[in-house]
Subunit: 337 residues, 2 copies
Amino acid sequence: MSGVKPPSLTLKDIADQLGISPATVSLALRNKECVSARTRRAVWEAVKRLGYVYNRSAARLRTQRSTTIGLIVPNLLNPFFTELTSAVEEKADTFGYSLLLAKTSEDRERQAKALRTMLEYSVDGVLLCPAVGTTQEDLGICEKTNTPLVLFTRPVDGPKVDYIGPDNSRGTALATRYLLGKGHERIAFLGGAEGSFTRWERYEGYRKALEEAHVPIDQRYNRVSDTTLDGGFRVIQELLTLEKPPTAVVCFNDVTAFGAMLGLWYHHIAPGRDFDVIGFDNISDAALFSPSLTTLSCPPRRIGSRAAELLIERIKHPDKKQESIILVPELILRDSA
Amino acid sequence: MSGVKPPSLTLKDIADQLGISPATVSLALRNKECVSARTRRAVWEAVKRLGYVYNRSAARLRTQRSTTIGLIVPNLLNPFFTELTSAVEEKADTFGYSLLLAKTSEDRERQAKALRTMLEYSVDGVLLCPAVGTTQEDLGICEKTNTPLVLFTRPVDGPKVDYIGPDNSRGTALATRYLLGKGHERIAFLGGAEGSFTRWERYEGYRKALEEAHVPIDQRYNRVSDTTLDGGFRVIQELLTLEKPPTAVVCFNDVTAFGAMLGLWYHHIAPGRDFDVIGFDNISDAALFSPSLTTLSCPPRRIGSRAAELLIERIKHPDKKQESIILVPELILRDSA
DNA sequence: CTGAAAGCGCTTACAG
DNA sequence: CTGAAAGCGCTTACAG
């Protein structure tokens, strides 16, 4: 800790240079009309010449606004979250916000810590995909500090907070009916973490669609997995060893679907021709896996973008009432199949 | 913009509650020994009871340290950068730093803006993968503000700045020699963006290895692509239509290698058996693509982790001299092949 | 072990 | 159109 920063330039230095007051410099920096064009020009020149760097901590302290938002995701390896993060970063940038990023690794402790730290930095708002098991109290700190909070993808019980996410069960019901319509009778539900609420909803849509069609539910066709390529890869192989293997799978999401497709290729089964695979999300790589993959489109980029918009809306109009946006996944059928 | 935040609690409020001074509360909050245990306990209780949230902007303004670092990457869709980001976030968290994130989309303007904004937030240091075309002047602002900067993956001319990245040409030379040793004579170099310096280096390693072995260089075997699955997918198909298609490819990186493998599967060619594919990076999904994929391991997680460590080292000891860490990629041979 | 005072670099009424 | 003054919420010598 020998970090002795050289004293940095301040508004006052600029002011002294020009023989005007810091107040005027402050105004000029933000191009306020009330400062004469001549003075403004002089200020900008001096700023450039001296290499002045605006100090946002000071401004933030003074104004109580930070033009920073926080994004907290469970992880940064799953393309769902990284595409979402990318979209949020873009939207934030568009509106002049900087992005503070943290991941929880599904750990409520880390989540609590990340949330607190962000509030300590006076973020103007927080975008959060709650870690598994998150309760309303975990989020109470946002309300206490009056910081807008928008949840995405995973709701938390309680009516108080803005939320945006897909209609999970409707999506998988759509997919399952589609497969039934194509004549499949042995349809499996592949992947997703045990105990995940999202998985439960997606499974429910699948189950209901089978039930409607009077197709018996076979628990051997219901398999959890890591939400990774490898997870899908492993589980499809297990399914293929069944006495009566399925002829189609509704997958928890695109990543597990890709894994399943790789598994099929390894067994010389051509997905999309010999075997139907349906994904969920429509992450960007899904386009490549077409035409063998059908997916339920509810792209992370769109969720991220809209969530960020909603948050910024909340920041600007904190009095608006709570809102839930439920996106209806669309079944993307590709050329062939 | 009607955002009227309620006045938030301050140290002074806590102090008043307890009938002590703000100075003491400040000390107590950081558990300084010089405050009696009794007082400290009382302070912590009051903090909890009143829901006090520490204001880091104020502290930062006062101390001139922010415990924040900035990370700037070209994009957040490529798994290379997201795995790296994930590793950086973890390392930052371990050392108590928060992470400000920005992406440049390879745009120098955006990069300049991101860099400036981060410095305005007084980040303690910056980790940067320079956008294509970045010059030393672009980075001058870090030196001017005395903010440690660590570059990764892509060097920038000039000896002044810390850098960490792989030995690109050595890696691809290794790979190419390996393929030659296996008896391949028609080896292509697949993917990577035109004009990318990294691509140039990787291509050079490949070229030199062929040269050493007196294998003629055929420019039809040298193909640029988007650095995406789809890029690799397209290019492999082009290569397969050649009169004399290659029997092996050294790919620009793992992502393009995966794309190539998908393309091979579509053509019922089994990578790893009928055709050798070599990737670069060893991103986490590479494990899954084994045993059909051989890769040059220089994992983004390691680069991110070490870059973050180096940056934190620099923050703590700004007087240390510049360092370049060149990682030597290791050829990971998988079981079969 | 605790308190009074100054100051970090801004912005914002208020006066002129 | 410009300046003087107060204050945002902390931390840090310094005194006691």
